[in-house]
């Protein structure tokens, strides 16, 4: 691992100032992704600003919004009574990810910014990876692309966003609060992540000197929700496909409103408003869910080894919506 400097500020303003002061600096959260990528030689910061002791560890309700500090640990968020009571799909998604040890370490902000698990990205012995080395090509498009995207990819990159928590946050309509030298701003999570286009190395809207300080989750008024994760083993594995679904049923079992987002299939949490609209005022039946699923994967572009994801995604949408409808 390359040598790097280290600092541990205890105040947000100082953390941002240090990121700007030290060349090639990065923030360090739980380190579960960054330290790993540094060992691999994918990330090579010259300085780490350890933000784990910043006072951004609150989880509180303000009106109809749960505000979660960026330095809360994944396990704390998943176990928090407010989260369990008001948006259990978030707990479900977090608990479906990684392992208890990793969830004890991983922070909310770091989780949002975890990088793709594309094998070619992760291993610098592959020369071609536009995300790691802009302009070098993409080894995955003609390579072993079983875990890659079927939606939202480009000729430059077909990597998926690998996380679980952000999929639930997308369906919940959450926003990200960031603080930088120019002050604070709030971005909706759906607009925070970018599609790769010709610049797959730019993954989101965050500037290097901006710090995620919290996320804001509007508490949903729904009758049921579910996070379904499909993977190669039952636990401690990334999603092949996942679905976060929220359903609000009227007493006569018609759908008042439904929202869902897909993980594992695209470079960002994949949410399709037309698919959600297709559910409004319809009965909560498998046929109706299937219609929405078809709309959600419209335009899917499978590659040599990941064609199975198209049908899997549709079935996962149907199952997640069905389970969410039965809950509550």
């Amino acid at each position: 691992m390359r040598r790097f400097g280290y600092s541990r500020p205890d105040d947000v303003g100082e953390a941002i100032a240090q990121e700007r002061r030290f060349p090639e600096a990065k923030f360090l959260g739980g380190g579960t992704n960054l330290v790993d990528l540094m060992k691999m030689g994918v990330e090579k910061p010259a300085h780490l600003v350890d933000i784990t002791r910043l006072p951004l560890t609150q989880i509180e309700e303000r009106g109809n919004v749960i505000r979660i500090g960026a330095l809360t640990r994944n396990s704390e968020v998943a176990a928090h009574p407010l989260v369990l009571a008001k948006c259990p799909v978030l707990s479900e998604a977090i608990l479906a990810g990684a392992s208890p040890q990793i969830r004890n370490m991983a922070t909310t902000g770091g989780n949002l910014l975890q990088r793709t698990r594309c094998f070619y990205f992760y291993d610098p012995s592959y020369a071609e990876c536009n995300k790691r080395v802009p302009g070098s090509g993409c080894a995955a498009i003609q390579g072993y692309n079983r875990i890659h995207a079927i939606l939202g990819g480009s000729d430059h990159c077909i990597a998926t966003y690998p996380g679980d928590m952000a999929i639930a946050l997308s369906a919940l309509g959450a926003s990200i609060v960031v603080q930088g030298p120019r002050g604070e701003r709030t971005i909706s999570l759906d607009r925070f992540y970018r599609l790769p286009g010709a610049t797959p190395h730019i993954e989101n809207d965050l500037k290097p000197d901006e710090l995620i300080t919290s996320i804001e989750v509007p508490t949903p008024t729904v009758t049921g929700s579910h996070y379904l994760k499909v993977r190669d083993r039952n636990s401690y594995a990334f999603a092949l496909v996942s679905v976060a679904a929220l359903v609000d049923l009227a007493p006569d079992k018609h759908i008042r409103q439904a929202r869902f987002a897909l993980g594992g299939v695209a470079p960002k949490p994949w949410r399709v408003p037309e698919a959600e609209e297709a559910l409004v005022n319809r009965p909560a039946t498998e046929a109706v869910f299937r219609e929405a699923a078809e709309i959600a994967v419209r335009g899917a572009k499978p590659h040599r080894y990941n064609g199975f994801k198209v049908e899997l995604a549709k079935r996962a949408v149907v199952r997640a919506l069905t389970t969410a409808s039965q809950r509550g």
Binding site: R2, D36, L84, Q101
Partner: protein, 205 residues
């Protein structure tokens, strides 16, 4: 809770102020350190009750610090990438992966490793249970399994949900134990006996 677990819990929390009642509250309030790439930095951490005042390169992981510098080789390096759980230790009582933890970040923390579980010449009940139930074959994953299991029972007692318990509302079914222990792989496949060992400790309460 057995007397042993009591000891460990107490030891883990020595020095943690009441204000740090949240699991991860700050135990340290010294001047915030800054060091350059060529520097080492001061770091003081307590491992199994012994305080170590160290000069560390920031890139040293907690796992390498313990194994290479402090000769605490009970904690194992399986993958070095967060994928196996062999390096599991407790930091202020919480199970974490020492291979993805930079030692410098643990300044002021209390670390417990497999070497610190026994007390007064008595094995920890979880260690005894692993022997009694034959919860290992080659033993390489075992220190991580045992540290993980000790913290896991504490998590259950404090109400931590799992992906399984959320939906079944039941904790400590075999399925729930497996889910809660899924961060510790065993290439020898001693899983059934590991589950039995953990269950026996849980039942003895």
């Amino acid at each position: 809770m057995s007397a042993h677990e009591d000891d460990i819990t107490r030891r883990d929390f020595v020095g943690v102020t009441v204000a740090a009642a949240s699991l991860y509250g700050g135990a340290v309030a010294e001047a915030a350190p800054v060091s350059g790439p060529a520097d080492t930095a001061n770091c003081s951490l307590t491992i199994n009750g012994h305080r170590h005042d160290l000069q560390l390169e920031p890139r040293v992981t907690l796992l390498d610090l313990m194994r290479e510098q402090l000769h605490l080789t009970g904690t194992k390096k399986g993958c070095d990438h967060g994928q196996c759980g062999a390096c599991t230790v407790l930091s202020d009582g919480n199970r974490v992966l020492s291979c993805l933890t930079l030692a410098i970040t643990q300044d002021g923390r209390h670390i417990t490793t497999i070497e610190g579980l026994a007390s007064g010449g008595q094995l920890h009940p979880m260690q005894e249970a692993f022997i009694e139930h034959d919860g290992f074959q080659c033993g390489f994953c075992t220190s991580g399994q045992i540290c993980s299991a000790v913290a896991m029972l504490k998590e259950v007692r404090s109400g931590m949900p799992s992906a399984v318990s959320l939906n079944t509302k039941q904790t400590m079914t075999d399925e729930d134990i497996r889910e809660r222990m899924s961060g510790n792989l065993c290439r020898c496949g001693a899983y059934p006996n590991i589950v039995a060992a953990i269950r026996s400790v849980e039942q003895r309460g």
